[in-house]
């Protein structure tokens, strides 16, 4: 009896083994997609096309040229990517069309960025966003970019010099907001939900091709410093494409595209984008310059971090929002051009209050610009306003998207300088004015 039972059990294990072994080859029959048979899309660009059409540009990796890892040149010295553009009704159909002239089946699973032209964004992105959300191949952490030039031009101009892999270039470049604060770092996940949300509006990364082809052409005309009533521009007072620079890298990202619903309604420059990051608590750290309080022609620089999440209170008075915002920052000294000894405890407050005052003034301007000019709550104050109601019906009746334009802001920036770097006291050079005064 025991032998019979053992035989039955052994038989079962054999049957089970056969089934398991069969599973391995059979599951691959229909859905098999070999890695070397796929064309990996790294960037997708969408421009306005002929009526009813959209112009889609894809940037694809050339894996054999990327092999060899990082470095300024690819292993073969050839291009590491190719681009293809088609006119299509929709993204999925466009992919099919591109496969009529490219050998490999396209895969979007490694796409890092989707670029919309400003023209298309101003019309509305809604027709394309649902397609992105529906398709599992689009990753939710893909960056959303609005290009001030056409998306096609932007993608074709991307020529990474420090990376052989354009995919890595996109990832590192669009992540730079974590240490410069000039772009919002928006991903498709955030963007899609903000487009549909009643408590926050969407914002996208602003990109462009730099307008200066040589250092002789560089000028500051396109800077936003004049509209902010500043005597001269700081580095954040520019939008993508306008940066005063000359480099082999033609493309740049700076500032953000502001949306109301699915339509783009305006732009913020790099500094204003940093205020957006501070207000939403996404700001990490960045270097800032300020005019020296004692020497108006000189600057001091700080590395500013956000020490705590912003404190936001929203209340409604006569149906109008009163928004109280407190931003807590801390900073390290990077440079003091004037040589003033601000590091001593009695004087550190001078540059602290100078920096905090300058930041607070520009923060107010940014908030007012978004509320009064764009009517767009990109900061998500509406999320706090939801505290004021108990149910969704009450929230819809409040009509936050409409009343936000009448908001009154009370802002406070608190900045504390913590560390002076490797120098704890500034001793002026022997030829400087201060040194001479000291010797007299």
């Amino acid at each position: 009896m025991r032998k019979i039972l053992l035989k039955v059990h052994s038989l079962w294990f054999v049957v089970l083994g056969i089934i398991v072994c069969l599973c391995i080859p059979l599951t691959g029959c229909y859905d098999a997609r070999e890695v070397d048979e796929l064309g990996y899309v790294m960037a997708i660009g969408l421009d306005k096309g002929e009526p009813g059409y959209v112009k889609m540009t894809l940037q694809l990796a050339i894996p054999k040229n990327i092999a060899g890892g990082g470095g300024e040149k690819s292993s073969g010295g050839n291009d590491t990517s190719l681009t293809a553009t088609v006119e299509t009704h929709s993204i999925p159909v466009g992919l099919n069309v591109i496969n009529t002239f490219l050998s490999r089946q396209l895969s979007l699973s490694d796409a890092k960025v989707i670029v919309f032209s400003e023209e298309l964004a101003k019309k509305s992105l809604e027709p394309y966003l649902h397609s992105i959300a529906r398709n599992k191949d689009f990753r939710p952490n893909m960056y959303v970019v609005v290009s001030r030039t056409s998306a096609e031009e932007y993608i074709k101009s991307v020529a990474p010099k420090l990376e052989t892999n354009p995919s890595k270039y996109y990832e590192l470049n669009f992540n730079s907001f974590k240490y410069n604060g000039f772009t919002p770092g928006t991903t498709t996940h955030d963007f899609y939900f903000d487009i549909e949300s009643l408590d926050k509006q969407a914002i996208a990364i602003l990109a462009s091709i730099n307008k200066f082809s040589s250092d002789k052409e560089i000028n500051l005309e396109a800077s936003t410093y004049k509209e902010k009533n500043k005597p001269y521009p700081f580095m954040g007072d520019f939008k993508a494409g306008d940066l005063p620079r000359d480099s082999d890298a033609k493309t740049e990202i700076m500032g953000s595209a502001v949306f109301y619903g699915a339509k783009m309604v305006g732009e913020l420059d790099g500094a204003q984008t940093a205020y957006y990051l501070m207000t939403t608590g996404k700001y990490n750290y960045a270097n800032w310059s300020f005019t020296d309080p004692k020497h108006p022609d000189m600057f001091f620089s700080l590395n500013i971090k956000q020490s705590r999440k912003p404190e936001i209170q929203v209340e409604l008075v006569d149906g109008k929002p009163i928004i109280n915002l407190k931003i807590n920052l801390e900073a390290d000294i990077l440079s003091i051009q004037s040589g003033e000894n601000y590091e001593i405890p009695e004087r550190i407050g001078e540059i602290e209050s100078c920096a905090a005052g300058a930041l607070n003034k520009e923060l107010m301007l940014t908030l007012d610009k978004c509320a009064k000019q764009f009517h767009s709550d990109i900061f998500g104050f509406g999320k706090k306003a939801k505290y004021l109601v108990w149910t969704w019906d009450q929230w819809e009746k409040m009509n936050w998207q409409y009343i936000f334009r009448y908001s009154q802001f009370n802002t406070e920036v608190s900045l504390k300088i913590r560390r002076p770097g490797l120098i704890i006291r500034t001793v002026p050079s022997s030829s400087s004015d201060q040194s001479k005064k000291g010797s007299q």
Binding site: W12, V15, C23, Y30, K136, P140, N141, W390, D393
Partner: protein, 365 residues
């Protein structure tokens, strides 16, 4: 049929937990979010309380008939007629559920990973696993649950916790979501998410003692409630209402947004493994108990000859809905609205009959 198998308390608990929670990977979270808006988590807590109250009534019935399952209780109350009625209620309700969820799991596989494979081809692999599990029998099924389900749900909880940095706690407001009436009145129908407690009604002969039965029920409901609540809470924190209601497979979407640095992305692959295991355990157990209830209802001596015909019947019924929209509509309109009735209302009716007509061994004694 005399039972020679005795199931441990832990095995039974994890078995019931999986039966209740397997549908988390499908649309249960979506249903809670859709019913209560940003207050989906409050609805989930409310449903746990309702399930506990419902199970308290169930316990009152089973205390009168210690060691007897729901079909035996039917026999005690209404002889052969009672037995057949009870058996058919269980078989038909669970056939309805297994068919809907089998289709749900198949559509999930097709949408998420096997886009090109025909649905019948994918179904073959599921059905082979279900047949094999049924041949191995109840003991193997519950032991596998004890072995794997704690690991599976631990992975699920870890996946949820890893999304914590991306959670936005302000998404929980307005606190009462779509309104207190939607949560506490309309939402009560969603007690159906605990309908799988009905499988526990067939376990008393295998559990032997009433205390074990009681303990298994309360523990399974409590842990399932915890899983539902944290799943709907995290989903609500990651996907704000009303966009959250668009999601076809909320937990899959939650796993998709998870990334740990540049190296560890696409962690939904782990999720795919765990949900397939959960699905196969759920489907195998459901099919086994449908066959078991059938043999017990019609006093048939053997289970094994019924396995393949039942599998073919389930497979055919599963492929009947012409599209995922139809099966999803049936799940939303019927399953989540009425499937609590056999689990919680039926024992209440039986208890009332017992009290009125003074039926039942212990009560009579």
């Amino acid at each position: 049929m005399k039972n020679t198998i005795v199931i441990g308390e832990k095995e039974a608990t994890w078995f019931i937990i999986n039966m209740i929670c397997a549908k988390i990977v499908l649309n249960a979270i979506h249903i809670l979010e859709d019913s209560a808006g940003s207050a989906g988590w409050i609805l989930s807590i409310y449903l746990v309380i309702l399930a506990v109250i419902g199970f308290y009534i169930v316990l009152k019935l089973f205390k009168i008939f210690p060691g007897k399952d729901i079909i035996d209780i039917g026999t005690e109350i209404g002889n052969s007629f009672g037995r057949i009625v009870m058996g058919l209620i269980f078989i038909l309700s669970q056939l309805f559920v297994i068919v809907l969820y089998f289709r749900g799991f198949l559509e999930h596989s097709k949408i998420v990973s096997l886009n090109v494979s025909p649905i019948s081809f994918i179904a073959t692999f599921f059905i082979l696993c279900m047949i094999t599990a049924c041949f191995f029998g109840l003991e193997s099924i519950v032991r596998l649950h004890y072995l794997w389900i704690p690991i599976i749900f631990t992975i699920l909880i870890v996946i949820l916790l890893l999304t914590l940095p991306q959670c936005q706690f302000l998404s929980l407001f307005p606190l009462f979501g779509l309104g207190t009436d939607k949560i506490f009145i309309n939402g009560a129908l969603k007690l159906s998410i605990y309908q799988e407690v009905i499988f526990l009604f067939l376990l008393p002969p295998f559990l032997v003692s009433f205390d074990k039965f009681k303990s298994v029920g309360y523990k399974a409901i409590a842990f399932s409630g915890f899983l539902y609540t944290i799943s709907v809470l995290f989903f609500g924190l990651l996907f704000p209402y009303p966009s959250a209601t668009e999601a076809m497979f909320p937990i899959f979407d939650t796993a998709r947004i998870l990334s740990l640095g540049r190296l560890f992305q696409r962690l939904e692959s782990f999720f795919s493994i765990i949900w397939i295991m959960t699905a196969i355990f759920f489907l195998s157990s459901s099919m086994y108990f449908i066959i078991y209830a059938f043999t017990k209802t019609f006093k048939l001596p053997y289970i094994k000859p019924l396995i393949i015909p039942t599998a073919i019947l389930i497979l055919n019924l599963t492929l009947l809905p012409s599209s995922v929209f139809i099966s999803a509509k049936i799940v939303t309109d019927y399953y989540y609205s009425y499937s609590w009735i056999p689990t919680f209302a039926l024992p209440f009716i039986l208890l009332t009959i017992c009290i009125i007509f003074r039926k039942g061994g212990k009560q009579n004694a």
